[in-house]
């Protein structure tokens, strides 16, 4: 009974973590950028979807689309205003670009967070779920929204897989993550691939953000924890490895759910952190990472 409940609840949250972390790891794999404004972009999407419904009085579907659109715009803004200038800068030595991108995106994330807090206050906002009501699974009352969240996450990740493995653009992205120089030699413009990747990332983060807004609700305080959880999932799975991130997302999601049910919700994040430290010591490159 309890096991089934953990299985169902954990699945939805894990799928959501997986979706959030996939875009994050994709960006790192292709352009070596760790985007620390990740949480801010997800929250921006959720708050935009909430505002569309409650301030502009749009219907739920338009609101959700609006949220994803905002995430896409913010994602491009992150690339063009912060990441690209640092990558192209001649005054920053190459070996220090990584820390500059980290600092830059971190500051950018704080700016987005503060703007959201300024215009929409710090209060938690819950986006109206697209599907309502509960359904009975073998005696467990489960909100339909949980199932919907899990389904959408799996569907989007499946579509991403098709895009990366079956289309020309996707293959270019995959190639760029393996060997950027080789891709340039084949006559593909690396900048265009980056733009495509940031676009995919924006959509993924947007969908994850809107779903999170429906599932748990968000506030501007969720920015930091969201970035941290995506970061730890991605490192646990191995930086740049999408399948590693998927596995890690389910490990972390279930570990958190089990702890919350069996021990106490207050200790929710601790076992996952311990696991992370443990993996760092015995296998620093993560579960499926390449060095």
């Amino acid at each position: 009974m309890l096991a089934l409940q953990i299985l169902i609840d954990g699945f939805a949250i894990s799928a959501l973590y997986a979706l959030g972390a996939t875009g994050f790891t994709l960006i790192f794999g292709v352009s070596g950028v760790l985007n620390l404004s990740h949480g801010a972009i997800m929250v921006a999407a959720a708050v935009a979807a909430w505002a569309a419904a409650s301030v502009l009085h749009l219907d739920i579907y338009t609101g959700a689309l609006f949220g994803v659109g905002v995430a896409l715009i913010v994602s491009f803004a992150t690339y063009f205003a912060v990441v690209k200038p640092i990558q192209n800068s001649t005054r920053i030595p190459n070996e220090e670009k990584e820390i500059f991108v980290l600092t830059g995106t971190l500051l950018w994330g704080i700016m987005i967070q503060e703007l959201i807090a300024y215009f929409f206050t710090n209060n938690a906002k819950t986006v109206l779920p697209i599907v309502e009501g509960v359904v009975d699974i073998f005696g467990n009352r489960t909100p339909r929204n949980n199932i919907f969240t899990a389904l959408v996450c799996c569907l989007v990740i499946g579509l991403l897989w098709l895009l990366v493995n079956r289309t020309r653009t996707g293959k270019a992205v995959l190639a760029a993550s393996m060997n950027p120089r080789g891709v340039t030699l084949l006559g593909l413009e690396l900048t265009q691939i980056y733009i495509v990747v940031w676009g995919i990332y924006g959509i993924l983060a947007g969908i994850a953000g809107v779903l999170l807004g429906m599932f748990l609700g968000v506030s501007s305080y969720s920015v930091g924890p969201l970035t941290a959880s995506a970061f730890s999932i991605v490192v646990l799975g191995g930086l740049g490895s999408v399948s590693g991130s998927l596995i890690a997302a389910f490990v972390v999601g279930y570990l958190e759910t089990i702890t919350a049910y069996m021990i106490s919700p207050a200790y929710r994040t601790i076992p996952a952190l311990l696991l992370l430290v443990f993996v760092m010591y015995i296998r620093p490159q993560g579960l499926l990472g390449r060095r």
Binding site: A228, M280, Y281
Partner: protein
């Protein structure tokens, strides 16, 4: 080293400290209190810069070291009522142990992986504080019975003196042969090792020195506040401020980091009338500096001096 005492930087710093020392004679207690916090923060930023700018370790968890020192000192004083100075010393020593713990993964993993390990260390400390609320005061904060002094001017002088001495030691260290070896091992560990330098030993030393000053400053800060809480010495946001200060002031300059910290805290206070937008403006300014003056305040000034 010898020509430092005749350089312009030395005289400018000396003049700044001399002017700063006279401030309690004519400014209000409010400004003194603000600067006192800023000076302790300056030490956090300088200690972080030693680790990042020289040893090349991306430490996302300066507050792991700061918080360990601060909470150890606070808990000892709260539980056993030991004298303030003993508590501060033990806090700094606990922080050194924490620095040692943090250094272990640093010798194994690099770059983003190490960054995450340090971030996790902070989150663990934060969880520890919340879980063992009986001992640490939990989310409300730990009340500390003793303070060093309640005189605003005296507190200010202690902070200023502490920052000046720390700055002298950390800057001296960074310009010494040890600092050069550290810089070399941060930029190219293989080559530095091939030249016969013991990288492990140097990096470990950098962690220990950085931890000592972070912990000492953290312990002094809680005895100034009279309270220790997650929001003031452990939270990731505090660590972010330390990092932003160091990058803003100019990484690899040590002194710039203190400048950046003072700027960050004073600017945050001046922008208070703008309400919730204050953090936004400070972050935006910091981002512009990162994008257009990657060397930071002091980096830009020093390179101009070097060119002329």
């Amino acid at each position: 080293m010898a020509n430092f005492f005749t350089s312009r930087l030395f005289f400018i710093s000396l003049a700044c400290v001399a002017v700063a020392a006279t401030l309690p004679l004519y400014v209000s207690g409010y400004i003194l209190g603000l600067l006192t916090v800023a000076f302790y923060f300056g030490v956090f930023a300088m200690a972080w810069d030693l680790l990042f700018g020289f040893a090349g370790e991306v430490n996302f968890g300066p507050t792991f070291l700061i918080g360990t020192g601060a909470y150890t000192a606070g808990i000892l004083n709260n539980q056993f009522g030991w004298s303030v100075y003993l508590c501060i010393l033990l806090g700094a020593l606990a922080s050194v142990v924490a620095g040692f713990v943090l250094a272990l993964p640093a010798l194994r993993v690099r770059g983003p992986y190490f960054g995450l390990t340090t971030l996790v260390a902070v989150l663990m400390l934060q969880n520890f504080v919340v879980v063992f609320a009986d001992l640490t005061g939990g989310e409300i904060g730990l009340t500390i019975p003793d303070v060093i002094t309640i005189n605003a001017g005296a507190n200010y002088w202690i902070a200023l003196g502490f920052m000046t001495i720390s700055a002298a030691i950390l800057y001296g260290l960074s310009q010494s042969p040890v600092g050069l070896v550290l810089q070399a091992s941060g930029q190219d560990p293989v080559q530095a090792g091939a030249l016969g330098f013991n990288i492990v030993k140097h990096k470990l030393a950098a962690f220990i020195v950085s931890a000592f000053f972070s912990g000492l400053s953290g312990a002094l800060l809680v005895f100034y506040f009279g309270t220790a809480s997650v929001g003031t010495v452990v939270d990731v946001a505090v660590g972010v401020n330390v990092i932003v200060s160091a990058v803003l002031g100019g990484r690899r300059t040590v002194l710039g980091a203190a400048l950046g910290a003072i700027f960050l805290i004073v600017a945050g206070e001046f922008l208070r009338p703008t309400g919730e937008l204050a953090t936004f403006i400070v972050s935006a300014v910091a981002l512009l500096v990162v994008l257009f003056f990657p060397g930071g305040f002091l980096g830009a000034a020093l390179s101009r001096e070097a060119r002329s």
